[in-house]
Amino acid sequence: MSDIDIKRISYLAKLKLPSEKEEFYSRSLEDIIQWVDNLKKIDTSNIKPLHNVTEVTVSIRNDNIEKNNTPEDVLKNSPERAQNFFKVPKVVE
């Protein structure tokens, strides 16, 4: 067995896996992690990680105010709203 704790991982990902599917995802995750394990064979001690592949992007603009959205636009897709706010259940006791 591997050390993949599917309950912890799904909690971190804010997913509530139905108990009958935990096994399915757990096995699938193990297979894939085992499959990608070949990377560990490569010596990369002197290699820098690559984040941005073209590495040449210089894209700085003036910080001018642009008005592209109204509050009405922003709230248009909200599942629940109250005036100009997104509505959620009470958070503070």
Partner: protein, 482 residues
């Protein structure tokens, strides 16, 4: 019939009043609205496009037509389109109506294009067969001649885009490619699919999957059409911090120009190690087609090919797990009930994402989690540099690299149930994506089952112009030989 005509000749027909913009739209809309291959999540109503069609016709009448004026296009349902439902083929976005237009689709609109509808795709573009869509699989319009009743996948994730062009319901369609999602479906549907250099086309307004890999590009009937669309969409955009500000070429100009100097094309022997003779034959055939030109073919060998898929299946899910954290049921998308905030998050996400998306979020979360970050994610980013360097080493010897696009023809819907078997479909396209290089898939022939196969040409960074010139040459030789 105007189907299969290149954009240039459609524009000529519109200019010469052989057809009206409305008539052209209607021809494609008629096919699209049947949606017999499920290639659309949404087909736009002709009434909705009435004013756009009228404005386009007026420009033709005034002689002020734009480069893509009146051309009916499909748009992958991953591009935000203002006022038009954009779902990413996911339940969680099934009610989402963007209040803004993606950069890429805005450029197409600015150039006069008229949208037919939103093309089905894999959920959040995660898949290689278009089977992970919440709205059901797309059927490849091609049939296996030895088994015509079988329903085949169009490839993915831009499977709806490819099927739509192949069935003749739009002139071309905009797709996105993260690890092969334009090139692979183009290949399985007998079309041209171009993934430009990372940074060519702004990602602004494209539903994000893996931000260091995602790139927009066209799926078209011919190479010249891909050049027309690239001319429209390849521009610098301040809203995407990875958008490149290099000087773009005119990709149409000189596309027919003959090679004025000898070019070298590398063929990676390691790509051809385990492929079927039918796939090898695509490479041999392409070589033969080009025999009359001043082209030297050189055997090359990568050192990192065996690690590319592993690298990709760490980096892409890691970025996806982070990008998809925004879907929480609070500000947009489908909200499920819950007695407290945490329950709303958990219930909305769990019910909103399908199996493959859930799987990739879990992989990504795992490789980014404390204790595993260095061993997996950081290691993958380092190997990614080795892969990039490997390409640059080969590009010191050659101008282009020729590979198969996929290891197989279109397969049956439901055939590949094992995720790793599915991921292997992208073995030839993923390395290019990791390196951020431009790649194009071109139809190269038919399999013994009468299904399309394709070859991929890879160019160096921002060399799309040369890439399209060579592709145009190959396409011409192929049609001459048919």
């Amino acid at each position: 019939m105007l189907k299969r005509q290149p954009i240039s000749s459609l524009v000529d027909s519109l200019k010469e009043k052989k057809i009206s913009v409305q008539e052209l739209f209607d021809q494609f809309h008629e096919v699209a609205k049947e949606n017999k291959n499920n290639s659309y999540n949404l087909v736009l109503d002709p009434e909705y496009q009435k004013s756009n069609i009228k404005a386009s016709q007026e420009r033709y009448s005034a002689g002020t037509n734009l480069p893509l004026d009146g051309i009916p296009l499909g748009i992958k349902d991953l591009f935000c389109t203002k006022g038009i439902t954009t779902t990413a083929s996911s339940k969680i976005l099934s009610n989402f109506i963007p209040q803004y237009e993606s950069f890429v689709t805005q450029q197409l609109l600015n150039d006069g294009a008229i949208f037919i509808g939103k093309n089905n795709c894999d959920e959040f573009a995660m898949g290689s067969s278009n089977e992970t869509s919440h709205f059901g699989p797309v059927v490849n319009p091609w049939q296996n001649k030895n088994s015509p009743s079988e329903k085949l996948v169009p490839g993915g994730s831009s499977g709806g885009s490819a099927a739509a062009v192949a069935e003749g319901s739009c002139v071309a369609s905009m797709g996105t490619d993260t690890g092969g999602s334009i090139r692979q479906p183009a290949s399985l549907c007998g079309l041209v699919g171009l993934k430009p250099t990372f940074g060519s086309c702004s990602r602004w307004g494209i539903v994000a999957f893996a931000s260091s890999l995602d790139q927009a590009g066209p799926i078209t009937n011919c190479v010249e059409d891909a050049a027309y669309i690239l001319n429209s969409i390849s521009k610098h955009d301040f809203n995407d911090s990875t958008s490149s500000n290099y000087q773009r070429d005119d990709y149409i100009k000189d596309i027919d120009k003959k090679l004025d100097h000898k070019i070298k094309i590398g063929i990676p022997s390691d790509y051809l190690k385990n492929v079927t003779p039918e796939i090898t034959a695509q490479i041999e055939n392409t070589k033969k087609l080009l025999a009359g030109h001043d082209i030297e073919f050189i055997d090359v060998a990568f050192e990192t090919t065996d690690y590319a898929l592993s690298t990709y299946y760490i980096i892409a899910p890691a970025e996806a797990s982070s990008n998809l954290a925004r879907y929480d049921g609070i500000r947009y998308g489908v909200r499920e009930g819950g007695s407290n905030l945490d329950d709303i998050y958990l219930n909305s996400r769990t019910s909103g994402f399908g199996d493959e998306v859930t799987r990739r979020i879990l992989i990504g979360t795992y490789v980014l989690s404390a204790g595993y970050y260095d061993a997996y994610y950081r290691q993958a980013q380092k190997v990614r540099r080795l892969i990039k360097d490997d390409f640059q080493r080969i590009f010191q010897e050659v101008d282009f690299i020729l590979t198969p696009t996929t290891p197989n023809e279109a397969f049956k819907i439901g055939e590949k149930l094992d995720p790793i078997a599915m991921y292997m479909n992208d073995v030839f396209t993923v390395p290019t994506s990791l390196a951020g290089l431009p790649g194009i898939s071109l139809p190269s022939g038919l399999s013994s089952n009468g299904l399309p196969l394709g070859v991929q040409i890879i160019g160096n960074y921002f060399e799309e112009k040369k890439l399209l010139q060579l592709s145009n040459l190959i396409e011409k030789e192929l049609s001459f030989n048919e």
